[in-house]
Symmetry: C2
Subunit: 169 residues, 2 copies
């Protein structure tokens, strides 16, 4: 109302993706001191979560779970291998694939990681379980929407990634 011409659509406060971007950076920062004693970065921690949960997985399967491609995963997995946490072995049945599995040390690290979620959110006062639940739900719906948009954009070809649907709720 002050007279200067302003188009609200470009106001930072109107953006939906900026809080997402900022929160992702803040989360990464918050995890760093918690994961550092385990020798892991946050993306590396996510890879370990998948392997602890699913066991041996190909590079492509890890990428589908985490929405990442080989350009990101290959160097990251090599670092985890150099640390002795995972093995990278060519698949005998299909020599194109590389199977990633846990070493004994990688599997053992799970015990030390048990306290990570509680450390992360235990210190986060004033934050209730159901709010986290709502947030997870809302973000997962955005992920679904972005994936549907990608599929709609190129209907005649397979999408670059074929991520499974975001986890329900």
């Amino acid at each position: 109302m002050t007279g200067t011409e302003r188009t609200d659509a470009l106001d930072l406060e109107r953006q939906v993706c900026f809080p997402l971007y900022a929160a992702s950076n803040l989360v990464n920062r918050a995890y760093r001191p918690i994961l550092s004693p385990l020798g892991l970065t946050y993306p590396q921690y996510l890879v370990m979560l998948v392997l602890w949960q699913d066991g041996c997985r190909s590079v492509g399967a890890l990428g589908e779970r985490l929405y990442l491609d080989s350009g990101t995963l290959t160097p990251m997995l090599k670092r985890l291998e150099a640390q002795g946490l995972v093995r990278r072995v060519r698949d005998n049945a299909d020599e194109r694939r590389v199977n990633v599995s846990l070493t004994d040390e990688g599997a053992a690290l799970r015990e030390r990681a048990q306290s990570v979620p509680a450390t992360m959110f235990g210190a986060c006062t004033n934050w209730q379980e159901d709010q986290l639940h709502d947030l997870r739900h809302a973000v997962n719906e955005l992920i679904d929407a972005l994936n549907r948009r990608d599929e709609a954009a190129k209907p005649e070809a397979v999408t670059r990634r074929k991520p499974q649907a975001a986890v329900p709720d």
Copy 2:
């Protein structure tokens, strides 16, 4: 129930921060083809949003708005300067500061950016305004919670960044 010992807290599906991380990556990817014709990356676009909205700002003030520090901003602002979109000038009153302002070209770019939000979310079918609103609200609450946690962690010193409260709703 299958007998293998499993601790749910480390399941990927239980994580709150992973969808945030994945969504942030997907958003960055989705913005790329939209911003590429403008010669901007998504973080650069955010800087331009602040400058279009606030006008001339110091590096530190930009960092408070975007939750970034000089280690990220300085090289980014140099790239924007090399493109002729912004100016970086030492503050006469306080020679420690560097003020960042728009060039004519940078200010003019705003017109071409007007269509960016609609392009981003216009193609996103099945996604309602109020869902985006809820998402923004939920993520902003997490940002506030993480900031409160940081302040609580080191009460005797000023926090590394002093971000203003996340935008209300």
